[in-house]
């Protein structure tokens, strides 16, 4: 079998169920592939792993992928299993926020690494300064958990529909205590989990063939996971080496993830790409991308072949 390794953007969880299912159900084997899945984490930049040769393909979000590309990393999107964005801003109702008009004077916590850009671009659309000055908001970098929100260090925090939001709920708050703003609804959504590889790999026909088979099997895994969420969650749990995940949480996550993958057959929709670029470039202050990356940043070559 041909060996192929996949670098994830985050730790093993239902967010990546499609790949684990494909491996577990033998979809990769059917394509004569031997796939190694490497979990990620906050200290792992998948692009570095990819360029360093530690992986052949990676899961990444378009904003950080484009930022890397502008910094000289020749990476290309080859498939996009996630159609919609799961990012949202979750606010405490007690802070008095009910609609975007209420933001001024509050502290909004966001993840960085490129995830802050949609928020900046939203604020600039709303006309709020982000330097904490009068009539504006304060942007605070928070880590990948919800503690700052629970401890009221911030009034709003970025969360994923499938993960952090439920952690807030698990902590004892009810949906009634919260107000959420989905990026998808606010017109600032960016493309999330896509599959990327290097330009060099795409010039190698053998590799292209492998990737094609990989994408095909992965999409099969995704569709299987959508249809059998509980089984998919179990498979994910099986593969969690930290032993820190819980069944309840993963099953719920799988349900939410299915909503995000639903609209995609695996091929990138160029309109989504354009929208993401536009959001990123209108972020004001310190944009991570300064020029339109153009169509070189994605290709349909693989998906066309895989999904024909």
């Amino acid at each position: 079998a041909d060996e192929l390794s996949l670098q994830l953007k985050w730790v093993t969880q239902a967010q990546f169920a499609g790949y684990y299912v494909a491996a577990d159900k033998g979809f990769y084997e059917e394509e004569d592939l031997d796939v190694t899945i490497k979990p990620g984490g906050p200290d792992i930049a998948p692009v570095q792993v990819l360029l360093g040769g530690g992986a052949d393909v990676m899961v990444d979000w378009l904003p950080s992928a484009l930022a890397a590309r502008e910094n000289g990393a020749p990476i290309v999107n080859i498939a996009q299993p996630f159609k919609s964005s799961g990012l949202m801003l979750t606010c405490l109702k007690e802070s008095g926020i009910e609609s975007p008009e209420d933001f001024p004077g509050h502290t909004l916590g966001t993840w960085f690494f490129g995830n802050e850009l949609p928020l900046y671009s939203w604020m600039s659309k709303l006309g709020y300064p982000t330097d904490g000055s009068e009539g504006g908001v304060t942007i605070q970098k928070i880590n990948f958990n919800v503690d700052p929100l629970l401890q009221k260090q911030v009034d709003c925090a970025t969360t994923m529909t499938y993960n952090e939001y439920w952690q807030v709920i698990d902590a004892g708050l009810t949906p009634d205590d919260l107000v959420v703003f989905k990026y998808e609804d606010e017109g600032i959504s960016t493309l999330e989990d896509g599959l990327y590889t290097t330009e060099e790999n795409l010039e190698d026909p053998e590799m292209v063939d492998k990737l094609t088979r990989f994408v095909r099997a992965s999409m099969k895994g995704w569709k299987y996971a959508e249809e059998n969420p509980d089984e998919a969650a179990d498979i994910v749990l099986e593969n969690d080496a930290t032993g820190a995940q819980t069944e309840k949480h993963q099953k719920r996550m799988m349900g939410e993830i299915a909503k995000l993958t639903a609209g995609s057959n695996g091929a990138l929709d160029p309109a989504d790409f354009e929208r993401t670029v536009e959001v990123l470039m209108s972020a004001g202050a310190a944009p991570v991308i300064t020029k339109d990356p153009g169509d070189a940043a994605w290709t349909h070559e693989i998906t066309d072949e895989a999904l024909d």
Binding site: A45, V47, Q48, L51, G52, S64, A67, A68, N71, G72, A73, F112, F113, G114, I139, Q140, K141, I142, N143, D147, P148, Q151, Q153, V288
Partner: protein, 280 residues
């Protein structure tokens, strides 16, 4: 081509140093030798990056880092103030002062010494990366939590060194004080603190490197949107490695300068100790 150049530079630099070190020891050679060594290292790095065609998102060449330091100097300065001046320095001062005070109390009451030091050693073994998030949770995002992390990090090395130093007087030196019927405080001031100075400086020197690392690492776990740790962690995510390395260079320079300053102070204060006199 670049690889050959790198090897040549390495050999040349080392030979030059061997020659310099063989000559009489002077201020100039003492300075020149490490500088030449460092320059050689940097050149070899540059040559390797170019020679092997290493991607700049993995390891940028020194020339790119220097260029970045020029263009982002205002960012670097802002981060330096936030992390080094506000976080590391405050924490260093508070932590060392607290440790010194505690050491004196612990030394006064033997019961405390025997109880606190073993427990202290255990607590000191708690990894910083575990403590930092907790302290950020307690002290907020700004520099106060960084200072707190630094305090925790420098406290025990400093405490242990000071306690050891306060006990490092010879029986005869103490007996002399007894024959003068000198009280506890007099003995502390005139005998034990001076005698403890070499140990205290050992602790201080250790604390300088710990303070800087602590302040930067703590920023990984939450910070306002400035600071060296913040910049490093976010820039890695965006693969702006020039900036990351520029920050690292600033950290290394600041750390070495800090260490050097304390070492100079040590030389001035403990000029009498054999380890200082030996190098003349």
């Amino acid at each position: 081509m670049w690889i050959v150049l790198g090897i040549l530079a390495w050999a040349g630099g080392w030979a030059l140093n061997v020659w310099l070190a063989g000559r009489a020891r002077s201020r100039a050679t003492a300075l020149a030798v490490p500088v030449i060594f460092g320059l050689t290292l940097i050149f070899v790095w540059e040559a390797a990056v170019r020679g092997f065609g290493i991607s700049p998102v993995l390891l940028p060449p020194p020339s790119a880092i220097v260029a970045e330091m020029g263009t982002s100097s205002h960012i670097l300065w802002e981060d330096f103030v936030q992390t080094v001046i506000k976080g590391a320095l405050t924490g260093f001062v508070i932590g060392c002062a607290a440790a010194l005070g505690t050491a004196i109390v612990v030394d006064r009451f033997d019961f405390l010494r025997r109880g606190l030091l073993p427990v202290g050693n255990f607590v000191a073994a708690l990894p910083i990366i575990g403590i930092a998030p907790i302290l950020v949770m307690w002290f907020g995002f700004d520099w106060q939590s960084k200072a707190a992390v630094v305090v925790v990090m420098v406290f025990f090395p400093m405490l242990v060194n000071t306690v050891e130093g306060l006990r490092d007087t010879s029986a005869m030196q103490r007996d002399l004080m007894r024959t003068y019927a000198a009280g506890y405080w007099t003995t502390l001031l005139k005998l034990r603190l001076p005698a403890a100075m070499p140990f205290i400086f050992n602790g201080l020197k250790l604390a300088t490197t710990l303070a800087l690392i602590g302040a930067i690492v703590a920023e990984f776990f939450g910070s306002p949107i400035r600071g060296m740790g913040f910049r490093i962690s976010t820039s890695v995510g965006l693969l702006a490695l020039d900036l990351v390395w520029a920050e690292i260079v600033v950290a290394a320079i600041a750390g070495s300068a800090f260490y050097g300053g304390v070492a100079l102070l040590e030389k001035a204060v403990t000029f009498w100790h054999p380890s200082q006199r030996g190098q003349g």
